[in-house]
């Protein structure tokens, strides 16, 4: 028995550490933040949030300047430049998501301490670990982008997921949160098991856990009469397992309950971070079977095709029926996964670019919208009914504006960022000949317009019911600041979509890092 891929460990480890500086920074920050949360000094405790945000932003910046595509290619990363786009992007949006969380953890406790009604009790305060968990999760996504084998993918995904289970449970610690957590955790565990089984089958079919080797093996199989059933089954189970992360049919059932039960900022977090992880996982796993070459096995294409249609349709149709905003957003996020699955099903490099851009647009819009929604709350919970938005324009004009912008962007009204996301998915799908998917996509955009219209109209048009108890103001300014920043980005970034898209295209360009990977491949061949 030999280790299948005797890559020269010394060199690759060094390369990989070079790639992993952002994650290391995040993990370090997580430790620091966890400790800071236990401080008796309110100022230090109050700095947990800002420090976390700064850490995330710093890791994003770090990702810009470390771990070039050459290094990644040398390390055998399938899409060597992917991380260069994804890590800063995720960091930017994660920073926004962290800002949306501003002030909500331990809010009652801190308020009581502020009133001198309670003393600080480190056993009760969770702010530190909450932020640490968030940072872990973000680090997990970042790790995933440079994954080279299935083990790494698995570990990174777990690193993304496990903290989010906790965040849902402890964020507010109320009953809906706990219920959401238990559903999320158990169903997540089942999905992970399914995914693992898929990985096992993949291993069985190709004899390797390394993505490039799996790709080679599949390539060889495809050249000689097609990928074996075992491989297809493995791909399928792995994909379905990953569907859980991206809330795609049939693994989306947990999403409405979990998103509704989780505190609003956590909902925002859930609707982006695991989703990115899931899509990156899908790209990596399916990349082994010729995703961007349009050579996926037909059953996989069919699976993606059906999943795309069902996901967006069920998502949008479900969203129409809701009265809870978080639940609506859950369905909305299911629908958006459906749109992105269209790009996967189209299976071209252009489509992949479109997907990566869409993730970005979706993330920015999510921060803008959730930040706007987070400005109001109710005692011990979120202000989650649409009616709670009534009259918002008078109390929170900026948040209102950002909710409107966000809903417009989600709908895909030009010239907002969301429009360009849909635009590229559509063009690439048209180019790939997936006309039916395009039709479904546009029809679903139409359906979605109806509930996004409620997000737009209620705060602007409706007047609050005089009998209802008024909502409270979120004491923290961070959510609204994040919302404004990202909402304005929705308006401004379209002017720079050209350069953003260039960036995305470089991220998926297989030629990137080719200069470095060629010698590396030669080297590995030599050592064999």
């Amino acid at each position: 028995m030999t280790i299948a891929a005797p890559i020269t460990l010394a060199s690759t480890m060094a390369d990989r550490v070079g790639l992993l500086w952002p994650e290391l920074l995040l993990l370090a920050a997580a430790m620091v933040v966890a400790l800071m949360g236990l401080s008796k000094d309110r100022t230090i405790r109050g700095a947990v949030g800002p420090v976390s945000i700064l850490a995330v932003l710093a890791s994003g910046l770090l990702a810009l300047f470390t771990g070039g595509a050459d290094a990644a290619a040398a390390a055998g990363v399938p899409f060597p430049a992917l991380a260069q786009w994804l890590k800063p992007m995720v960091a930017l949006i994660a920073a926004g998501l962290m800002a949306v969380q501003g002030g909500f953890v331990d809010q009652a406790l801190e308020a009581a301490i502020g009133r001198n009604a309670a003393a600080f009790n480190p056993l009760r305060a969770i702010r530190g670990e909450f932020h640490a968990f968030a940072l872990f999760s973000i680090a997990g996504v970042m790790l995933l982008t440079t994954a080279t084998d299935l083990i790494w993918i698995f570990l990174a995904l777990e690193l993304v997921s496990l903290p989010t289970y906790v965040m849902v449970a402890i964020g507010r610690g109320d009953r809906p949160g706990l219920e959401a957590a238990v559903k999320y955790f158990f169903l997540g565990a089942m999905a992970t098991a399914i995914m693992l089984m898929g990985f096992a089958l993949l291993y069985g079919a190709t004899g390797s856990l390394q993505l490039d080797l799996i790709q080679n093996a599949f390539g060889a199989q495809a050249a000689t009469g097609g990928i074996a059933l075992l491989g297809v089954g493995g791909l399928m189970l792995a994909s379905v397992g990953l569907f859980f992360k991206i809330t795609a049919v049939p693994m989306h059932f947990y999403a409405p309950d979990v998103y509704e039960g989780a505190p609003l900022p956590v909902t925002a977090f859930l609707s982006f971070i695991p989703k990115v992880a899931g899509f990156v996982g899908l790209i990596l796993v399916l990349g082994t079977a010729g995703l961007t070459a349009g050579e996926l096995p037909r059953p996989i294409i069919a699976l993606l095709w059906m999943a795309a249609i069902l996901t967006m349709s069920l998502g949008n149709m479900g969203a129409l029926l809701q009265r809870s905003m978080k639940r609506t957003m859950a369905y909305s996020s299911i629908a958006h996964s459906g749109y992105m699955l269209v790009a996967l099903a189209a299976g071209t490099t252009d489509a992949l670019d479109a997907l990566l851009f869409y993730l970005f647009a979706y993330g920015v819009t999510t921060v803008a919208t959730f930040g706007g929604l987070a400005v109001i709350q109710r005692a011990g919970g979120d202000a989650d009914r649409f009616e709670d938005l009534a009259g918002l324009r008078r109390t929170h004009p900026w948040a209102t504006a950002m909710i409107v912008l966000g809903a417009l962007s989600f709908t895909g009204i030009p010239p907002l960022l969301g429009f360009f996301g849909k635009f590229w998915i559509l063009t690439s799908a048209f180019e790939a000949g997936q006309i039916a998917l395009c039709v479904f996509l546009v029809v679903n955009s139409l359906v979605s317009a109806r509930y996004y219209l409620r997000f737009m109209a209620t705060p602007v048009v409706a007047e609050p019911d005089s009998n209802a108890t008024p909502t409270e103001r979120n004491p923290s300014l961070a959510p609204v600041l994040a919302s404004v920043a990202f909402g304005l980005a929705l308006l401004v970034l379209p002017c720079f979509t050209g350069s953003i898209f260039g960036w995305v295209q470089r991220a998926t360009d297989p030629a990137m890092g080719a200069a470095a990977s060629a010698p590396a491949a030669a080297q590995s061949a030599d050592s064999r």
């Binding site: 169903l187 399914i194 097609g226 479900g318």
Partner: protein, 731 residues
């Protein structure tokens, strides 16, 4: 098919119609454009005055002045008239081109087409227009504080549009005038706008006219499509060389144009608006709805006669419609009690004669009759207006009697008698000759149907004489007796009464005004009205002069000279030919020449009608009532008097056949639109996603295991499907 003499004549004159000389372009006559501009300016100024609530008679005098100037201009043009037609380009309008030749442009410039027909028409339009406007300055004086300026704005708009209609150099400009006079008519019929009946009448006039306009518009389209131009100067050059009875498209043109003419001239099925139009102030009735506007249809056909000559069948239709309308309207006119309504039906009837003349090929007769009719009918209306003015809106001949002996109304009565005699075509009156010209073309024709129409026309002449003098003997002769109308200032000025709220005064019962009766003093017309009546009456007399001239001095009839060399000339030539042949070649009718027979019969019918009226309505008025009762008692024809009084129920039939079904359809469609299409289909489709979404709701039951089952089931399905495809033979 054997060609009848008429049609062979027509074919013979095909060459003659190519005699229409090519138009010369005469920019140096652009001063004639002022005839178009002056009424327009006057209309604009009057409108601004109306909006600015100018009080005073300034708008009236302004209008009179501008119209008078127009008349002078036209008269000047008459004096300096060149031989052939003249085109005077004034400005661009709706012209554009996309290629060099005929069919590659739409030329509809603001240009005048002047030939003798134009001048002839404009002479009496502007002349009468001036006089009637003058009359109206006094007639409308009660309204000085209210609608005076609006009234004269309407008159000015009318004159502008009529000028465009008559003088315009292309069919589109004619259409502009056509609808423009419709607008003026609408404004003026609805002048007393607080009166619902006036509003309804105005609406009806415009809408019925619109049906005709539709035909005219389509006719213009078709003309362009067939000949590539709608400019007269080019069009008649093209048609001169066009084959007769060309393709169906061409053959349709005259029918469409005819529809327009029928609408404007209240002929055939489209006559119903004209009687109601009497809701307008009387000068309007005189000017627009008797003398000038309603003759626009005659003008249209005379102007486009070359197009009609290409389709003799179309002319036959015109003749039939004209003849039947003349008779039909006369039957209704016999049973009306409102003086103005009688005159209105007589107008329809006389217009019928004109169309009969056109159809029979005697454009000369038609134009001559138009000319004479304009004067005597204006005269009749103006006298009726004077009565109305003086007797507080009273026009019911059952409530007026012996007006000729009421102080201040003597002159009015005599001019009414003059008008009546002329309308009854009393021998050697102007209308006698003009009507004769038309009827002889029918009676003397070789064609049986034309002969029938000729005799029908003669019969109608008798009816005309009867109903005309029924009115005169009732209202102007006999013992003095009158009941004033229900308006303090006369019916016309009802809205001037200080009703601030609820102006629906309508026609209150006469009893309510009984106290007026004792102290009511009719006031006779003053100088302006008298002057206008007198001039127009004299004009009516003089209108016969051309006929006397040709009869006694054997000169060419002036009217005939006026239309010679115009587009109507082809027809005029034919008729002269026919008439001459009838006389010389022994087209014997009742043993006499056609001309003599017609004159004689016409005289007998006319005088007979007058005598019957004399007996029934002056000598023994009770006889009329007993006759009426006797007819009503007769089983089979008992319904006739009532039906005639109710205008043969035509309005009711139209209402039931056209208006009600359309109205019901409108409601049905509205229901469909609102409740089926919108609330059903559109909202249904809109709601379908959430309805479908509802189907999936049970899947989100909230129980952890059920989610797990669904998810695992999904995975299982996918795997099963994978296995199935694999077993089916791989992928």
């Amino acid at each position: 098919m054997t060609l009848s003499p008429l049609t062979s004549m027509l074919s013979g004159t095909m060459m003659a119609s190519s005699d229409i000389p090519a138009a010369t372009i005469a920019p140096e006559m652009a001063w004639l454009g002022w005839a178009l501009a002056l009424p327009a300016i006057s209309a604009l100024v009057c409108t601004l005055m109306a909006l600015g609530k100018v009080k005073g008679k300034l708008p009236g005098w302004l209008t009179v002045a501008s119209l008078g100037t127009c008349f002078v201009l036209i008269f000047k043009a008459y004096q300096s008239m060149p031989e052939g037609p003249v085109v005077i380009p004034l400005a661009e309008w709706m012209s554009f081109s996309w290629g060099p030749t005929d069919f590659h442009s739409l030329q509809a410039a603001l240009e005048l087409y002047i030939d003798r027909l134009t001048i002839f028409w404009m002479l009496f339009v502007t002349g009468l227009g001036t006089l009637i406007a003058l009359y109206a300055t006094e007639y409308m004086e009660h309204d000085v504080k209210a609608g005076y300026a609006r009234f004269f704005a309407g008159v000015s708009i009318f004159l502008f549009a009529m000028t465009a209609l008559v003088m315009g150099g292309n069919l589109l400009l004619l259409y502009l005038g056509w609808e423009g006079v419709g607008l003026a008519s609408y404004m003026l019929i609805g002048y007393f706008f607080t009166r619902p009946s006036a509003v309804a009448a105005a609406k009806k006039a415009f809408i019925v006219n619109r049906i005709g306009d539709l035909g005219l518009a389509l006719g213009i389209f078709l003309t362009w499509r067939c000949y590539g131009t709608i400019e007269y100067s080019e069009l008649f050059q093209v048609t001169a060389n066009a084959p007769r009875e060309g393709p169906w498209e061409e053959s349709l043109i005259p029918y469409l144009l005819m529809l327009g003419a029928f609408g404007k001239s209240a002929q055939g099925p489209l006559y119903v608006w004209l009687p109601d139009a009497m809701e307008g102030p009387t000068p309007v009735s005189a000017l627009i709805h008797a003398a000038t506007m309603v003759t626009a249809g005659v003008f249209l056909i005379a102007r486009c006669y070359p197009l009609f000559l290409l389709q003799p069948d179309a002319l036959t239709v015109v003749a039939w419609i004209g003849g039947l309308t003349a008779f039909w309207a006369a039957t209704i006119g016999m049973a009306q009690y409102d003086m103005k309504r009688v005159w209105a039906y007589s107008t329809i009837s006389q217009l019928g004669y004109m169309f009969l003349g056109l159809g029979l090929g005697t454009t000369f007769g038609a134009c001559f009759h138009t000319f004479t009719h304009a004067f005597f009918k204006a005269c009749l209306f103006l006298t009726a207006g004077a009565v109305m003015h003086g007797f507080a809106g009273q026009l019911d001949i059952r409530r007026l009697s012996g007006l000729s002996r009421v102080p201040g109304f003597r002159m009015v009565s005599w001019f009414a008698l003059l008008g009546g005699l002329w309308l009854a075509a009393f021998p050697f009156s102007a209308a006698f000759f003009s009507k004769d010209e038309i009827l002889v073309a029918g009676v003397g024709s070789d064609r049986a149907d034309f002969q029938f129409l000729g005799w029908l026309g003669l019969l109608t002449a008798g009816l005309t004489a009867y109903y005309t003098f029924r009115v005169w003997f009732r209202a102007f002769a006999g013992p003095v007796h009158f009941e004033p109308g229900d308006e303090v200032h006369g019916d016309d000025h009802g809205h001037d009464v200080a009703h601030d709220h609820g102006d629906g005064h309508g026609h209150a019962p006469a009893a309510a005004h009984a106290h007026h009766h004792g102290e009511f003093h009719p006031h006779g017309p003053r100088w302006a009205m008298k002057f206008a009546i007198a001039i127009i009456g004299i004009g009516a007399v003089l209108a016969g002069y051309p006929a006397y001239e040709s009869m006694f001095l054997h000169k060419e009839n002036w009217v005939q000279w006026m239309i010679s060399g115009s587009t109507a000339v082809g027809g005029a030539g034919v008729v002269e030919h026919v008439a001459a042949e009838g006389a010389s070649h022994g087209h014997q009718v009742l043993g006499m020449s056609a001309h003599a027979a017609t004159s004689l019969a016409g005289s007998i019918f006319g005088i007979g009608g007058i005598l019957i009226a004399l007996y029934l309505h002056l000598i023994r008025r009770s006889a009329a009532d007993s006759l009426r009762r006797a007819i009503q008692a007769t089983p089979i024809i008992g319904w006739i008097p009532n039906a005639a009084e109710h205008k043969w129920y035509v309005d009711e039939i139209y209402h039931a056949v056209f208006r009600v079904p359309l109205w019901v359809t409108g409601h049905v469609l509205h229901f469909i639109d609102k409740h089926i299409l919108d609330a059903g289909v559109v909202d249904g489709i809109g709601a379908s996603p959430s309805l479908v979404g509802r189907v999936f709701r049970p899947l989100y039951g909230g129980v952890l295991q059920s989610y797990a089952v669904t998810m695992a089931g999904g995975v299982g399905l996918i795997l099963a499907w994978l296995a199935y495809t694999w077993l089916r033979g791989g992928f």
